[in-house]
């Protein structure tokens, strides 16, 4: 029996490049530390957890910096885990976004009368999933990373457990998320069945045969993309987003709308550019429709919102449409599409987190995220008003704020395709920018040009952690716009380049 087993099992211990996985391990260690602190110290650990969490995120940057200085691409586990420039850039983005979310959470969670420590443990493990996603080049790794980032997020969304809306938020998010995972998993199983491998590079070889694709490949690709469409809240798979965003604690909403969406995009980029790159006849029409529909529907519905968080949810749907747009011409422009989407993700993270920071700051006084409660803000909080204007008009894409550069790269990519479909998508982006400006500018008008409701003009006390979060996001938003090379000098194009894309 034993002899038989020894024959069957031909296990070779994979070589592990500890340097390459150092960021994940660091984050894992700190996540465990935060959880253990909670168990051991109970209430006494409360004060420390948020500091430990922010330190964790900063410390994790160190191995990323050393990896970047090293400059060498590292491949492990037969190609399932890759550390290249693209992965490093995305990891830094997730960590920075996570850091800002911790800053946003500090006062909110401490004052919220809910148990605090698990919050940061869950946050860290979700970020760990995202950091892992940036390196995942294998169906199983992608799926594990996706679940690792999603499951803690479901729980974070229900954080205010005595609040009905928060429960609704978490439940909706959970049900939709699981549904999406199931669809995606089904698609993955089809792809595995068709190619005999879970490695994306092998799948690419198997699906990229000339001639029309087999039904299994078509269904596999479509199901996987739909699974990610839920995650990035693209129309028509966005229905969870507004309710979840509204009900979840605002810092968690910020986290979902930026980091979680970005992680979905990173997974999608990995799959499209490594796994399905040769099958553009399948994914491009699908992405085209998703992109055009997301931006149009997202913007039109956002026009009618009265709650700022819901409006940001729908604007997030529209923004997902802009980010998808370059992928609809990926086969024609290759690297440019990847760069455009990554650029958009980076800029979007800065400006959207900033907008949520303002929502948090204002809600400290008004206890509301209704758009009307922002009226007259200029009268009693001019600093916050200017900051909010920067974020809103950056989201609208007005130069010289960061958003213009993101939108510019998207337009550049779709025009570069020199195809009718590309140009039409470019016109979609252009027209949608105008629609979007209407609701962004309307908030600006309310803040600047109207009177405060009830004439209540007591100033807002903004805690230090929120001020730091605002300082980081506003500096990045303006710097990206005035000097775009800051966000464009990264060479993130190895992914497609490696495939000759």
């Amino acid at each position: 029996m034993l002899a038989l087993l020894a024959q069957e099992v031909d296990f070779v211990r994979p070589a592990i490049d500890w340097h390459a996985v150092a960021p994940e391990l660091t984050l894992l260690a700190f996540g465990a530390l935060v959880t253990v602190m909670d168990i051991v110290w109970l209430e006494r650990g409360r004060r420390l957890t948020s500091s430990v969490a922010s330190i964790a995120l900063l410390v994790t940057m160190i191995p990323i910096v050393t990896l970047a200085l090293d400059g060498e691409d590292r491949v492990m586990f037969g190609g399932a885990f890759v550390v290249d420039n693209y992965a490093l850039v995305m990891k830094v983005m997730f960590l920075l976004a996570g850091y800002v979310v911790v800053l946003l959470s500090t006062n909110y969670v401490a004052e919220g009368d809910y148990w605090e420590s698990e919050y940061y443990g869950l946050l860290l493990s979700s970020i760990l999933g995202m950091v892992l996603m940036a390196s995942a080049r294998d169906l199983i790794t992608v799926f594990v990373a996706l679940e690792l980032l999603s499951i803690p997020a479901y729980m974070l969304a229900t954080w205010r457990k005595r609040d009905l809306k928060s429960n609704e938020a978490g439940l909706k998010y959970y049900l939709m998320g699981v549904f999406a995972s199931a669809i995606m998993l089904y698609g993955m199983s089809l792809l595995y069945g068709g190619s005999g491998s879970t490695l994306l590079t092998d799948i690419n070889k198997a699906v990229s045969v000339d001639g029309s694709p087999s039904a299994i490949v078509v269904m596999g690709v479509i199901f996987v993309i739909i699974g990610f469409a839920f995650k990035v809240s693209a129309f028509p798979f966005h229905t969870w987003a507004p309710d979840t965003y509204e009900g979840a604690p605002t810092p968690v909403t910020a986290f979902l709308s930026v980091a979680s969406k970005a992680a979905g995009f990173v997974g999608l980029l990995n799959l499209l550019f490594v796994g399905f790159f040769g099958r553009d006849d399948v994914y491009e029409p699908l992405i085209w429709i998703l992109a055009a529909a997301s931006m149009t529907v997202g913007n039109l519905v956002a026009l009618r919102q009265t709650n700022l968080v819901r409006m940001l949810a729908y604007s997030g749907v529209a923004q997902a449409g802009y980010m998808l747009a370059p992928l609809a011409v990926a086969s024609d422009v290759g690297d440019a599409a990847l760069t455009a989407t990554v650029t958009y993700l980076l800029v979007y993270a800065a400006m959207n987190l900033g907008a949520f920071a303002i929502v948090l700051a204002v809600a400290r006084k008004t206890r509301s995220a209704e758009i009307d409660s922002f009226k007259g803000l200029f009268g009693y909080a001019p600093g916050l008003t200017i900051a909010m204007s920067v974020f809103l008009f950056s989201l609208a894409g007005i130069p010289p704020l960061g958003g213009w550069w993101a939108k510019f790269r998207v337009m550049e990519a779709v025009i570069e395709a020199e195809s009718t479909s590309g140009v039409v998508l470019g016109v979609f982006v252009a027209v949608n920018s105008v629609i979007a400006l209407y609701y962004y500018a309307r908030i600006g008008l309310g803040m600047w040009a109207e009177d405060a409701p009830d004439g209540d003009t007591t100033p807002i006390r903004v805690p230090a952690s929120l001020v730091s979060a605002l300082a980081i996001t506003i500096a990045l938003t303006i710097a990206f716009g005035v000097y775009p090379p800051l966000v464009s000098e990264f060479d993130v194009t190895l992914l497609a380049g490696g495939l000759g894309g």
């Binding site: 200029f378 400006l437 309307r442």
Partner: protein, 529 residues
Amino acid sequence: MDSWILTAITFVPLLGAVIAMAMPNDDELHKRWALAVSLVAFGLGIAMLFDFNYDQAGQLQWVVDEPWIDVIGAGYTLGVDGMSLPLIALTVLVMPLVFLYSWNHIPSPGNTKSFLILMLILETGMIGTFVAQDLILFFVFFEVVLLPMFFMIAVWGGDDRRYASLKFFLYTLFGSALMLLGFLALFFLAKDPVTGEFLRTFDMRELTDTAGAGIARSSQLLIFGGMFIGFGVKVPMFPFHTWLPDAHTQAPTQGSVILAAVLLKLGTYGFIRISIPMLPEAAEAWAPVIGLLAVIGIIYGALGCLAQTDMKRLIAFSSVSHMGFVMLGISTLTDFGINAAIFGMVAHGLITGMLFFIAGSVKDRYHTLEIGRLGGMLIQAPRLGWILGFTSMASLGLPGLAGFWGEFPAILSAYQPANGLPVETFRGYMVVAAVGTVLAAGYLLWLLQRTAMGEPSEEFANDPEVVDITPLEWASWTPFLFLIVLFGVAPGLIFEVTDPAVVESLNNCLQFENGCDGVADATTAALGG
């Protein structure tokens, strides 16, 4: 003088704005500071006028060419030639006068500091647009103007300010989004005419030199169309003009003056600097359409004026009409027409800017701009009445004043448009435009008659607030009045500067078959002295 001057004149106002943000909230201090900053820019402008090499007015001067966004090959490229010099001079002249006027005319709800900071940022955007020689840089400056203007109207505007400011913002953004698509298409399609290789550049000089060579005609037409909407909204051309009367009526006086004097010129400048030289073939195809919309604008604007009951709204509609003349001149694609157009831009900037100043002062005194309630200004405030009369005369194109040299040559140029354009059509436009001048005389004289002549209305007859021009108003208005006369009697001052640059920009297209063609050099020479 080296290339630093263009960077300096562009960013001095912005720097001033940034410093002003850090300064304490003292209104008087901020007024002095804003005026001082704009005077520095004005001083730099004067220095440029002296240092400009007028023998080489067709060439870009003080060129700066630094890398900016390498990944897309967009550079920090600046330069000034005879086409942009008058417009920069106009901008740096208008701004200190506007700040001077602001001394005791800060519109409600106050907040002097923010108001002045926004105007300084606006100045950077306007100057930057005129000096940029890179399409992306141009685009960024073109858009930088939007936010300050939006807030000026939205916060300091009239009762309907929210509607007007949003409309202004949405219209212009719509145009510029399509314009950006056009720029991008140009970037990807432009080829070197000699080697046939893709240029992949946003450098306006290179794109002007290639003049659309190697781009399929259908693509050229579409690209021009995108830019046409972008610039046409800004001008504004009929049928994209509807934001203008609202924006002008609701904007504070300072905003209206800047809007009329400089902002509208960004659109026409875009046509002569970008659309036409870079895509001459498409320009030729579009020219009859532009001409048609221009004359519709002339007549429509004039008829609109006749129907207005609000003085400010009337002046706004007269802008639509006057910018129609400018666009008519441009649509002929002749150096004669485009020279007239640039002159028309400067003249319209001075005259209509002045009219909005007067409207602002009338509003201060009477607290209304309802034409029917005004009257007898010549009795109550004779100097104000006379200045209104003088400026109206200038606006209707009285020979000897600046307005004439924008209007008359523009009409004349339509008699003989560039080779390849339908001559009969343009002669038809000429006749219609000439009718427009009659209407202009009609509405301006009627305005004058109803507001300045006759007996003061009972309502205001003994109103102590209706006083004559104050010293401050004299100070900020005199330069306008002086220049209106000066350019009226010596139009060559502008024509001589612009002509070489205009010829140069059109010359580039002459290398190509069916390109635009200058035909009226002799006439220009005669007119320009």
